[in-house]
């Protein structure tokens, strides 16, 4: 069974409310998706709440699943959609300083980098997060953001370049970019 068919089979199980499939997906994907949500929202509480909404009702989440992408990509797409819905609410505001607090076990460099990523404009931040931090393939990130793969690639490169330039002094390095995008594979 190839990967796409396996994902389609798993999504079908989830749609039918298979508890074992749900547990398998939670164990495999929850941590990763939560990390994405933490970076998106800037605080752990909102991220956890969104994570619960997504993983708490996987049957509903996978109702509209298209077998063209993997389960992981679909979950990231749903997470991103949930975040945009949250952001639209008038009462919501990002609490970036909570992020640093939530992740106090990080090294100082990681905290600095996380803050720099958070300060990027969305069009650079999201491709960078998906490709570099979440380690999705370019085509997967494109599917999450609903933009062309080429755009994802160029924005990710630009984000990396910008980050390196900004952090060159802090990290004591040359500000030249070193693209290492994972472009292989199709879905």
């Amino acid at each position: 069974m190839n990967l796409v068919r396996l994902d389609a089979w798993e999504a079908e199980r989830l749609r039918k409310g298979d508890a074992q499939a749900a547990e398998r997906v939670i164990r495999r994907e929850y941590s990763r998706v939560l990390r994405f949500l933490v970076h998106l929202t800037g605080n752990l509480d909102d991220a956890q709440d969104l994570g619960q909404q997504i993983f708490g009702d996987l049957a509903k989440v996978f109702e509209g699943y298209e077998a063209r992408c993997s389960v992981r990509t679909w979950l990231h797409r749903v997470a991103y959609r949930q975040f945009t819905n949250l952001r639209r609410r008038a009462t919501w505001e990002s609490i970036d300083d909570n992020l640093a607090c939530s992740i106090s076990s990080r090294s100082e460099d990681a905290v600095v980098l996380a803050a720099a990523i958070a300060a990027l404009p969305d069009d650079l931040r999201l491709p960078f997060l998906l490709c570099e931090i979440q380690q999705l393939k370019v085509v997967e990130a494109a599917a999450v953001l609903q933009i062309p793969a080429g755009t994802v690639k160029s924005r990710c490169f630009a984000a990396r370049q910008k980050l390196r330039t900004e952090l060159a002094e802090t990290f004591g390095m040359e500000p030249h970019p070193k693209p290492e995008l994972n472009t292989g594979g199709t879905q």
């Binding site: 941590s31 990390r35 509480d45 939530s102």
Partner: protein
């Protein structure tokens, strides 16, 4: 590998699943880290997720029935900045008299679909307060004092049997700080006179109303190591500030995600 790439790699492998444990710089954080591991082993992710989901749905205003038998616990601070720790405890369905005998003069409101309901400690719905809530009038300082200034009893309260436990969110809002506790219980069973409930958990969020920032988050997870279910009757509650307050080694309070800036009382 340069520092930038090392930092990227670190972010790639970061896990937030047991995130409160990551405040393990403090002693309480370390305790939580241990407890989180224990709970994770016993409960597993599905159970934790299910509990939070129920709670989240309620917070969004999903009705949970009129006059639900419930109990909930809030540990908090003086919302009027007067300086003493405050604990609010709400019991219903047979346990309210315990609160009364503890000398508590406390009123809290229960958020239900955006409508506040007020309860007296004896468990009777205070109709005047309901009307008052619908009027949308703000709480006066005296009323606030009546509601919030209450010292935790020195003896922990023993839980009484309840028929059912429903997810419920309780909000205590003061002039500056808001405390919201979300309590939920996973599916239960009843055997004879004993009601059991799986891993009831309370999440308490303290929010600074001025900055709208969450200044503190705490979790209370009750469990009996080695068993999949705990009995409501076995619960022993205590001040939430205690990292571990288990008189019978049955109940554990865990977690604090960051030091609270609530002043001199932490």
């Amino acid at each position: 590998m340069n520092r930038f790439d090392r930092a990227v790699r670190e972010l790639r492998h970061e896990s937030f699943v047991t995130a409160p444990a990551q405040s393990a710089r403090t002693q309480r954080g370390q305790k939580f880290a241990l407890a989180a591991v224990m709970v994770g082993m016993i409960v597993g992710p599905t159970a934790l997720l299910a509990g939070r989901r129920i709670a989240g749905k309620h917070v969004q205003g999903e009705p949970f029935g009129d006059y639900p038998p419930f109990h909930a616990f809030i540990g908090g601070y003086d919302h009027m900045n007067e300086g003493f720790p405050v604990n609010a405890e709400v019991w219903y369905n047979g346990s309210a008299s315990r609160l009364k005998s503890g000398g508590m003069d406390l009123l809290v409101w229960i958020e239900k679909g955006g409508v506040y309901r007020y309860w007296k400690p004896d468990g009777i719905l205070a109709k005047d307060r309901v009307k008052w809530a619908k009027d949308g009038r703000n709480v006066t300082p005296n009323e606030q004092k009546t509601m919030f200034v209450w010292q935790a009893p020195s003896d922990p309260l023993r839980g009484k049997k309840t028929k059912t436990l429903s997810p419920v969110a309780i909000t205590v809002k003061g002039s500056r700080y808001q405390t919201q506790a979300t309590y939920w219980a996973l599916p239960m069973s009843k055997e004879g006179s004993t009601t059991t409930v799986e891993w009831p958990t309370t999440k308490v969020v303290y929010r600074d109303l001025t900055t709208k920032r969450v200044v503190r988050t705490e979790y209370v997870v009750q469990f009996r190591p080695g068993k999949e279910q705990v009995q409501v009757n076995d619960f022993v509650y205590g001040p939430i500030e205690d990292s571990v307050f288990n008189a019978k080694n049955l109940t554990t309070t865990i977690a604090t995600t960051k030091p609270t800036p609530l002043g001199k009382h932490d």
